[in-house]
């Protein structure tokens, strides 16, 4: 059974003549423990799919099923224990006046944990930062360290699905390698399921098992990574993307 499945998902913004259909009829399923990639250019709706899953895009129709349970307009607390998201820009996704301890502690408190103290330390160890970073503020951290904190925050409720929205595109290549390795390790350690959005085909090729190529809000092709590596994409747009990223 699939961990996350999306059927005929439509997402739109605005209404009347200002209506923009950001995602049209997207259908895909991600198995438990799988890593699934969404690629496409900006404006193709790949991030919007993630936002619709987490409830950050209010207007959507279709079916989203997480772990066998269908998601309605109102998301239960258990949903956020299962699904967590990591955002693109580590400079914008952390509260500038909250220390790492506050960021993680608050998340843990909201999810009803009582052993917050030990969990904060464990989370920081998990993402390779260690306890010495606990009382730092975001401006005292580098981009890579901030993204590690963002990943720790997403891991706080011990989720099963991580939605990764371009987790490394704001980082240097050398730091990108560290974060991608960390994500790969965490996935094996915690048995996580990933949905990763990226415009970089080689990153998706490295991280994912299968991927969907998006264009103008539609999924034009779903293929596995072996097909991608052998350059056997069938849709002309996927071929064009492949050419551009070599």
């Amino acid at each position: 059974m699939s961990m996350l499945s999306v059927e005929n998902l439509n997402v739109w913004f605005g209404h009347g003549r200002d209506r923009v259909d950001a995602v049209k009829d997207a259908t895909f399923a991600v198995a438990r423990g799988e890593s699934f990639g969404l690629v496409g250019e900006s404006g193709s709706g790949k991030s919007t799919i993630l936002r619709a899953i987490t409830g950050l895009a209010p207007d959507w129709s279709g079916n989203i099923t997480v772990d066998g349970k269908e998601i309605g307009k109102h998301r239960e607390k258990t949903f956020f224990k299962t699904v967590q998201m990591v955002f693109q820009d580590p400079y914008a996704s952390l509260h500038p006046r909250h220390s790492v301890d506050q960021v993680l502690g608050e998340t843990l408190y909201l999810h009803g944990f009582t052993d917050i103290d030990t969990r904060v330390v464990n989370l920081l160890d998990d993402v390779g930062l260690g306890a010495k970073f606990r009382f730092r503020y975001p401006h005292q951290l580098s981009g890579g360290q901030r993204q590690r904190v963002a990943i720790a925050r997403a891991l706080a409720p011990a989720p099963e699905v991580l939605l990764l929205d371009e987790p490394t595109s704001a980082l240097d290549v050398s730091v990108q390698a560290e974060i991608l390795n960390l994500l790969a390790d965490l996935r094996t350690e915690h048995g996580l399921t990933y949905v990763m959005v990226s415009h970089d085909l080689s990153v998706v090729g490295h991280m994912c098992d299968r991927l969907a190529v998006m264009k103008d809000g539609e999924i034009v092709e779903i293929m596995d990574v072996a097909t991608l590596r052998n350059m056997q994409a069938t849709h002309p747009y996927s071929q064009h993307l492949l050419q551009a990223s070599l």
Partner: protein, 284 residues
């Protein structure tokens, strides 16, 4: 022929913990070529680009033995004289079009302003020139774009508009600071191709600052690799993959590759000796 000759460039920022040297004794020359400068964030590559135009704001301090633009030393020029250099003889394209275009002026007004500032022409001639430049950067409906505001443009279009604006005074040197990193891969190529043809046709020198090694290897003729404010290696762009310096090798190896799948990516192991080693000269 040498267009630009930079000798022993330093950029320093005084701070509470002493002076921080962001660029430490960089020397290089630029001919009619495409020179790439690569490095991580904080390696001083953008500051190097900015200091050529003397755009380091106080409290930052920049010093250099000389910055010769066709034999003309920019270091001795007054701020007033520098204004005739900026835009006219050396132009710069910044990273993000969102922050470099004026949000409350139409595109047309901005391009025309840039042109009229440097040329004694009337509005009509400036309008015609602006349309011509927008067409040169493959913008399909230039009349509509002229009337639009920057927020109505996509990233790729914004960046092409920036390039059009920078090329209008016909400068000798174009400095492009990460011109495509805010853009998609598919649009990236387009913008680079446009820049390439324009630079070639006009016989300009191009300094291309980027963190993307693959892009630089494809696009430039010569590459300077910067680390901690110094040039650690200079090589021909087509031989970048055979680079010898462990830092360059590390950067290349940390990239995931479609054709060579690996379970783990190599993580760059930094050697303190790299930042201590003297700067390599980028002169020909």
């Amino acid at each position: 022929m040498t267009l630009l000759d930079v000798e022993n460039l330093w950029v320093k920022f005084p701070s509470r913990h002493g002076v921080f040297d962001a660029v430490r004794g960089v020397s290089f020359t630029l001919g009619k070529e495409r020179l790439g400068i690569v490095g991580e964030s904080g390696s001083g590559k953008s500051l190097t680009g900015r200091s050529i135009l003397r755009l380091i704001r106080p409290p930052g301090i920049m010093t250099a033995d000389h910055i010769l633009l066709e034999g003309d030393d920019l270091m001795t020029k007054t701020e007033r004289d520098m204004r005739a250099v900026r835009g006219q003889r050396i132009s710069m394209v910044m990273q993000d079009p969102k922050f470099s275009l004026n949000p409350v002026m139409t595109i047309g007004a901005q391009i025309m302003e840039a042109y009229m500032l440097h040329n004694a022409v009337n509005k009509k001639a400036a309008y015609a020139k602006a349309i011509e430049m927008l067409e040169a950067v493959s913008i399909r409906v230039p009349e509509r774009v002229m009337r639009s505001y920057p927020h109505e443009m996509s990233g790729g279009m914004g960046q092409r508009i920036m390039i059009a604006m920078m090329l209008i005074p016909n400068p000798q040197i174009l400095i492009a600071d990460e011109p495509t990193s805010a853009l998609d891969v598919s649009v990236q190529r387009q913008v680079l191709d446009i820049m390439d043809t324009l630079v070639k046709d006009r016989g300009m020198g191009l300094i291309f600052i980027s963190h993307d090694l693959n892009l630089v290897a494809d696009f430039c003729d010569r590459v300077l690799i910067m680390y901690a404010g110094r040039i650690v290696e200079v090589c021909d762009a087509d031989k970048l993959r055979e680079a010898k310096h462990p830092y360059t090798r590390g950067l290349l190896n940390s990239l995931p590759r479609l054709d060579e799948p690996r379970a783990r990516l190599e993580v760059l192991q930094r050697d303190p000796a790299w930042s201590e080693a003297p700067s390599v000269s980028g002169r020909i």
